[in-house]
Structures are given as C-alpha cells and as structure tokens.
C-alpha cells in the first residue's frame, strides 16, 4: 500500500510513501523501490492521495 507525498515547499507531489515502513520513495525510474511501486500500480492498484498542507 502506498500514499502520495506532497512537497511542503512547492505543494506538488514529489514522491510516494510505502505504508508498510513509511519509506518515502522518489519518482526516479532508477530507484528499485519506485520500480516496485510502478509494478504495484500496473497490477491495478491506486495510491492514497496526499495529505494537504501538513507535510
């Protein structure tokens, strides 16, 4: 399970939180955790939206 993470300064979504260990995963194709996230999405899953204004 994943939850999107919004950058507090720019107010844009820059990464995704892996809820099993709260790791923050960047949107970098070379990051193997991001590759696993993309596979999870490709299987039909959808991440939880980011919190607004608190991160």
């Amino acid at each position: 399970m994943y939850k999107l993470f919004k950058d507090v300064n720019r107010n844009i979504t820059t990464s995704v939180i892996r809820l099993s260990d709260n790791a923050c995963i960047p949107f970098d194709p070379a990051n193997t955790d991001y590759q696993a996230y993309l596979k999870w999405v490709a299987e039909g899953n959808t991440p939880t939206p980011a919190d607004e204004g608190t991160q």
Binding site: F5, D7, V8, N9, R10, T14, S15, I17, R18, D21, N22, A23, C24, I25, P26, F27, D28, A30, N31, T32, D33, Y34, T54, Q55
Partner: protein, 363 residues
Amino acid sequence: MAYGTINADLMTTSDGVSSSGLYGFKNRIINGAMVIDQRNAGASVSGTTGVYTLDRWTVQNNSGSARFNVQQNVNSVTPPAGYKYYLGITSTSAYSVAATDILGIQQFIEGYNTADFAWGTASATAITLSFWVRSSLTGTFGGSVVEGAAGSALYPFTYTISAANTWEQKTVTIAGPTIGTWNSTNGRSIQLLFSMGTGSSFTGTAGSWTTSSYYAPTGATSVVGTNGATFYITGVQLEKGSTATSFDYRPYSAELSLCERYCRKMGDGLFGKAASSTTLVVQSPFNLQPMRATPTITSTDSSVKISDITSADFTSSAGVTGGTMTQYGGRITISSFTGLSSGGMYIVYDNTDGSIVLFSAEL
C-alpha cells in the same frame, strides 16, 4: 635492476610473478570482508526477500516467509586469518524448498563497475570468484552469476565444503559470457547469488552459461533444509581474469564510501527551517559524492531532537516523514513538533547514534 612489466590485463614482476588486476578497483564486490553494517549495526535480520543485511548484501527469498536469519559475526566464531567479520546465516526451520523457490544471499554489482568485462560481446573476459566459507553442513553447495537486470544470462556454479564448522577458501573461475545484455551504467549488471536452497524449476547443470533460469546447480545442499544449520562467508572477491589473487584489502573509509553510493545515514548537524509550528524542512546534501540514483528515505529515529541554538530544544514525535531528494541531496521533512516558530532556523542534534534518516539507492 630488472623492472616488472605491465600490459593491459597482466602485470609481471621482476621475479616472474604474474597476476591480473593487481591494482585499482580489483575486487568488484563491495563490502566483501563484511565490515560495514550501516542498517543493522550487528543486529540479526530476518531473511525476507529484498531485505538488506550487511551493506550491499540482500536476501533473495520468494518462498513467502523468512527461512533464515542473517547477522554480522553471529555466534562469534573466529574468522579466517586476516579478517575480523563475516556474514552469518542461520536456518530457522527444516524447510523443504518448493520447485519455484529461490533462497539465498546476493549482491548486485553496478554496471559502471563491470563495463570493462565486455560481457555480452565476443571480447568478454573471464572472472574469478573467491571467498571463505564455513558451514555446519558439508557437501556440494552452489550459487550463480546472473545478468542482474533481466536474467538474460546465468551461470550456476558449485563448490564443496569438506569439513563441518571449518573455514575453507573457495575459488571459481568463470568464462566471460558472450550472451546476455549487460548494463554498463548505473543499473544492475552482475547478480552474485549464494544459494541457501533452490527448487527444481530454477536449478540446472553447473559450469556453463545458459539463458535458462538456473539460479543454482542441480543437487546443491539446501541450508534451509536443516533447522539451525549455519553458513558463514567472508572475503568475497570477484575479479577480472582467470586467477584468484589476494583479497583486495581497502581502507575502511574507502569501503564505507563505496557503500554510501547505495546507502547512507545522516542526522546530527543537519540544519533546517520551520515551515510551520509543527514541521521542519531540513537540508540534506550529499557533499562528498552523489548516490547511485535518487534515494528512498526511511526514518531511523521516531523522536528527532532539534534546537534553536539559543534557548530551546524540541522533539518530534514522528521523525522524518518524507522529503524531496535528487541523487545529489535535497531536503527532508520532520513532522509532529509543537511550538516551532514558523520561519525559524533549527539544528538537528543529540539524537541516538546521531542518525535520524537512512537514504537507500540500492540496485
């Protein structure tokens, strides 16, 4: 006085000793002497798939549950002469591997560090793998050298442990593969796997390259098949050429620096600015070298302490909750403070072991 001679891949000293790759980055394995353990600091790790144990060494396990534990210097046996550390595996049950199981300990090598092997071409060079191993079991054991991105080329190998609970040094020379598509930049190139138990669907004949998914040789000993069985390994070296040479003993700082391209911890001394009364945004520069890729951020301390330097300390009840990074650095967010002055400057300090966050850009 006679001087030694050097050509592209071979050095011959004046007294006639020849060896390949004596200098430079001879050993392409990082942390082969099992010295660095940033994540666990010597604590035991349950062997679930993908978990990182000692630096650069990760668990392969698609069996659904952990079947062994991994720990630096577990049981405190005396390492081989010249070494202080080893990676220790202990089987936690008597597990019969299923046909499609692959269990083991492995390291992925970055393409930049093997590009000179010219693998996948007619000019592919041989490599030699050497290591010290000790097990409570004896017999034929196995592993594989695999094209790590897609498994397009695999080489299962065997070695024999003759005496139980005795350190033995092993050497395996592997011809360079002309098959496979091998990464030569910042992706996975070689996957070196030491099998702890592999099912029949993924085992095959040892000693030759194949495109079949053979991650271990047929008939190798299953460490996970015996409850309490131990498997210890250190001095792992993978070098260019057909000769095993002495272990590439590198300075601790150099080995740690190599590890930090893939994993590093940060904490005390970082500096940040409060975005609100509850949230601090902290600069996190990777000053000495960039990481392999943009790293994943994981909190290592749920009660991060900061100070405004002049009068007050504050403690987060959540720790690092995210951030925005590149491979060169960036900023992390620490949440759940109370009473920060929005716009105020704070320094991270006096936290347990000095670390508050772990960055991971593993392969």
